[in-house]
Amino acid sequence: MPTEGAATRPDDPSLADAAASLFGAYLHVPFCRRVCPYCDFAVVAGREDQAERYVAAVTAEIERAEPFPSAPAAVFVGGGTPTRLSPVALARLLRVLERRRGLAPEVEVSLEANPEDWSPAVAASLVAGGFNRVSLGAQSFDSGVLAVLGRRHHPREAEKAVFSAHDAGFASVNVDLICGTPGESPASWRASVERALAAGIDHLSVYALTVEAGTPLSRAVAVGAPAPDPDRQAERWEEAAYLAAAAGLIRYETSNFARPGHACRYNLITWAQGEYEGFGTGAHRHRGGTRSWNVRRLDRYLEAVEAGGKVVSGAETLGPWEQEAERLVLGLRRAAGVRAGAGGGRLEQSEAGRRLSAAGVLERVGDRLRVARPLLGDEVSRAVLALEPADC
């Protein structure tokens, strides 16, 4: 984990590009106390009785995995709610991973946590177990908004979680906030962001509430419940970006802001098209040019692992052009942008690329391309994907 002394700006292009040659590892923990109405991740509620079986299954999956190309430089335990497993169980999984090929010096070890399940004791045990970064799902500091989101914690708990994480020795503390929830006002949003920043976070993620098909939220919207308004979400994001900058957090990706030295390395690997392994239900991996993903259902996953069978449910291998397009799409999410390369040149020449440049959305800086108006980033991505395939 880089220290404050050697602090690199999170939007530093060399930091962004260097992540391409690092190896990451992702561990999925599907358990949640209850399923939030907007959530469409691979999650289960009320199945903690399977926790032990699950840890055993993930252990087996890690042990059977293809050899790693190098020691992981970043480990990310996500969910679900990883803290539905005990700190001991989480530490055990980390050890299993470490046995494969060790961990890189200064490895970043992140986990996601809900303020509900957090306590100074949990925090201390996790640090003792090897975790050094935590991402707290605060979502909002407005209790009305939390209620709409189906979150049961009190705003005060989230704030305390930040403090206790730092006290326990976490080197980096992130807070996730969701903007555009119906019922949120400009003032309540501003207050949420200010409160998170005032708690001394090192990293902030701002996500716009998205209505995902098949969720209770989407069914509610279908019968007339208010849907998030993208214009309001744009305003919220701009407000958050302004406040974060004033607090010394630099935007380095569409939704992510960090103090120097606190960029999330695991995510940098993803955006740099780097390789990573994934373990657990619905986990994704990127190895040797192939992306593949595990079965999402807990029972099927457990049975498959226990029977010694395959847990991969799908895979795709991109051709050279698709890979180049993907490199751009992922890289352009970063404030550092991406080396233009063959595909970037073609993008700039294309009709859509020229329009985006004229509108100030796409920008060239030396040999790099960047998205200067990050809220319109998908427009650029579609323009990339619409380019005719070419040799590269």
């Binding site: 990451g24 992702y26 999925h28 991740f41 990310f76 996500g78 993620s205 996500y207 716009a208 998205t210 993208p230 214009d231 979400q233 744009a234 305003e235 994001w237 990706e253 569409t254 939704s255 992510n256 995510n267 993803t270 990573y276 994934g278 619905g282 986990a283 994704h284 991996r285 990127h286 992306r291 993903w293 795709e316 993907e326 799409v329 992922l330 009709e351 329009r355 985006l356 509108a359 959305v361 990050p374 809220l375 319109l376 980033g377 998908d378 427009e379 991505s381 579609r382 994907l385 619409a386």
Partner: protein, 610 residues
């Protein structure tokens, strides 16, 4: 061309044992279903291969449940006395837009089976088609269909038909095309009442090309009706109108499968393949004769159908212009009522101004082009053809609003003679509706006490855009409509232009009655505001008559277009989502700096429907 073995059972019938007829009716009265029953009885189709509305072979026909193309098929019929008849049947479309298909089919037949739905009774195309058949000198066999329906009133309907044709109700047959009841009696009547074809085997060959299509492997395939003489494989031919003289590579009959035969004699219906691949060398309506012993007098061909509406068709990808041209050429071979000429639009680039027989025809042509020729097209707002009198007194036809001359003495608007048949209880409603559409009553006649025939003079534009839907909905579907061109009249018209981002988009311009200009412009602008997605900048939409803006709206710039993070490294899902959105983009057309969805161009014509 490889020689194929010839089916022995398809040997030549003597003329006296041939009957050529078509089935005509108002739309949905059951023509294609009756054809199914006849096919089951007499065609070379096994029960296993039968399917409903067998002759509706195009995907579009099956999806929409309507016949678009007339379709010929040869059947066998053994009469109770033992005589073996050959029946050539043509199933025709019922929709008013395809009347031209009917008239060509009639020209290949000696008789017409006129079907009338036992519930609906006589409707507008029943009359129109009956008149066409009688005018063509055909023997009409009137039939009440769908007698199995609980609400069927065969007696009443028989009286209606008899009145129209001037025959006795006793001559009207009754069938159920669904159950097959009465179909044998119908077959007997066909053999008995319809005369065999006349024509001399020994005369020089004269055969009428009544349809054609383009086959990728075999080139142009013609459908023929032989009048006199005989056409055989290997004959050197001559097409009288075009002067082409190819050899007959293959002649055959449709069972409905194409089956080669050695020769087709007088009265027979079949197909001809010459190996000609250049489409413009063959013309529907032409007469085929033999080069070595040519006939000199052509058979009466077809009147070129007069298009009712015009619309611009543009490839959404400019590179596809040549492909569109080829596709139009090939499609025209199979749809002689389609006409087109190149045009350019500032907004859409190079394309064609196409003439259609109506909006359904336009829709079908566009869909066939897209499906059968794998094109992606943008259609502009349809328009009728106006005549403009210039200051020097000369007249000029204007098929596209963008061609309307600035300086003019007056604009003449096309009118139609519209025939509406309605249950008498709706007479008031229908008259009111026609008045709203600037119609003038020419005549009114009771076909029976319950059924009224109204004849109006109405501007074509009123009829073509929206009137039919309103007629149907205000009479609960009971009124029916048929129309034909009926001259021009001066009218007070104005062109409404649409400006996107301050740039006029010619493809959206429309010529409308001046009184309606404001409300038309208003609706169009509102509708476009809903259809044009938000862009990277504000897009003003304006409607204008001349330099006067009559309506305006703004599509606000898009502010947020980005999705949340890639959860736990799920890059694939995000890419797939973007790919899908990108596909949606493909259906967009760049007009200046503005992305306009292709539906917007079509939606303009639904402006009256809401």
């Amino acid at each position: 061309m490889p020689a194929r073995s010839l089916s022995p059972e398809l040997s030549l019938p003597p003329t006296a044992l041939i009957r050529n007829f078509c089935i005509v009716a108002h739309i949905d009265h059951g023509k294609s279903t009756l054809a199914d029953r006849l096919l089951e009885r007499g065609a070379a189709v096994s029960r296993r291969d039968m399917r409903e509305q067998m002759l509706d072979s195009m995907d579009l026909e099956r999806e929409r449940g309507i016949t678009i193309k007339a379709q010929a098929v040869r059947l066998h019929h053994r009469a109770p006395g033992g005589a073996e008849y050959t029946l050539n049947l043509i199933d025709t479309p019922g929709h008013v837009d395809f009347t031209y298909e009917v008239s060509r089919s009639l020209a290949a037949s000696e008789g017409a089976v006129l079907l009338v739905d036992a519930v609906q009774g006589v409707e507008a195309q029943t009359l129109a088609n009956a008149f066409l058949a009688v005018e063509g000198g055909l023997e009409v066999v009137p039939v009440v269909n769908k007698i199995d329906l609980p609400a069927a009133d065969a007696d009443r309907v028989a009286v209606e038909i008899a009145a129209v044709l001037g025959v006795s109700p006793g001559e009207v047959l009754r069938v159920s095309s669904k159950s097959g009841a009465g179909v044998d009696e119908l077959l007997a009547a066909i053999v008995e009442r319809i005369p065999p074809p006349r024509g001399e085997d020994s005369d020089p060959l004269r055969a009428l090309v009544f349809d054609s299509y383009y086959d990728t492997y075999r080139g142009v395939v013609c459908y023929l009706r032989v009048r006199d003489g005989r056409i055989s494989t290997g004959d050197r031919l001559r097409f009288l109108a075009t002067g082409e003289s190819p050899a007959a590579d293959e002649v055959g009959v449709l069972t409905p499968r194409a089956v080669p035969v050695a020769t087709l004699g007088p009265g027979e219906v079949g197909y001809l393949i010459t190996g000609v691949k250049e489409i413009d060398r063959i013309r529907v309506g032409d007469t085929v004769t033999r080069a070595d012993r040519p006939a000199t007098v052509s058979l009466p061909g077809y009147r070129e159908p007069k298009p009712m509406v015009f619309s611009g068709l543009y490839p959404s990808d400019g590179d596809q212009f040549e492909r569109l041209r080829e596709a139009l050429e090939k499609l025209r071979l199979n749809d002689a009522s389609l006409s087109y000429e190149p045009e350019t639009s500032r907004a859409l680039g190079f394309g064609f101004r196409c003439g259609f027989l109506g909006l359904l025809h336009m829709e079908i042509v566009r869909e066939r082009l897209e499906r059968e020729y794998d094109l992606d097209l943008v259609a502009t707002a349809p328009s009728v053809a106006y005549r403009v009198v210039l200051p020097d007194g000369r007249e000029q036809e204007v098929r596209s609003p963008q061609d309307l001359p600035e300086v003019r003495r007056e604009i003449l608007e096309p009118y139609v003679r519209a025939l509406v048949i309605t249950p008498s209880t709706y007479t008031g409603t229908v008259m009111e509706l026609l008045r709203e559409h600037r119609g003038e009553l020419s005549s009114m006649q009771y076909l029976t006490p319950e059924r009224v025939e109204l004849v109006y003079r109405v501007p074509l534009a009123e009829i073509v855009f929206g009137f039919f839907d309103r007629l149907k909905s205000s009479t609960r579907g009971y009124a029916s409509l048929d129309y034909e061109h009926d001259g021009y009249r001066a009218a007070d018209l104005a062109r409404v232009d649409i400006l996107l981002n301050a740039v006029p988009v010619d493809a959206f311009s429309a010529i409308v009655h001046r009184e309606a200009a404001y409300s038309y412009g208003r609706r169009l602008v509102d509708r476009l505001r809903g259809l044009i997605p938000r862009q990277l900048f504000d897009v003003p939409i304006q409607a204008a008559v001349g330099s006067r803006v009559i309506a305006r709206e703004t599509v606000k710039a898009r502010r947020k277009d980005v999705l949340a993070k890639c959860y736990g490294g799920d890059v694939t899902r995000k890419r797939k989502l973007l790919e899908k959105q990108k596909e949606g983009k493909k259906r967009m057309k760049m007009v200046g700096q503005v992305e306009v969805p292709q539906e917007a161009f079509i939606a303009v014509l639904r402006v009256d429907a809401d």
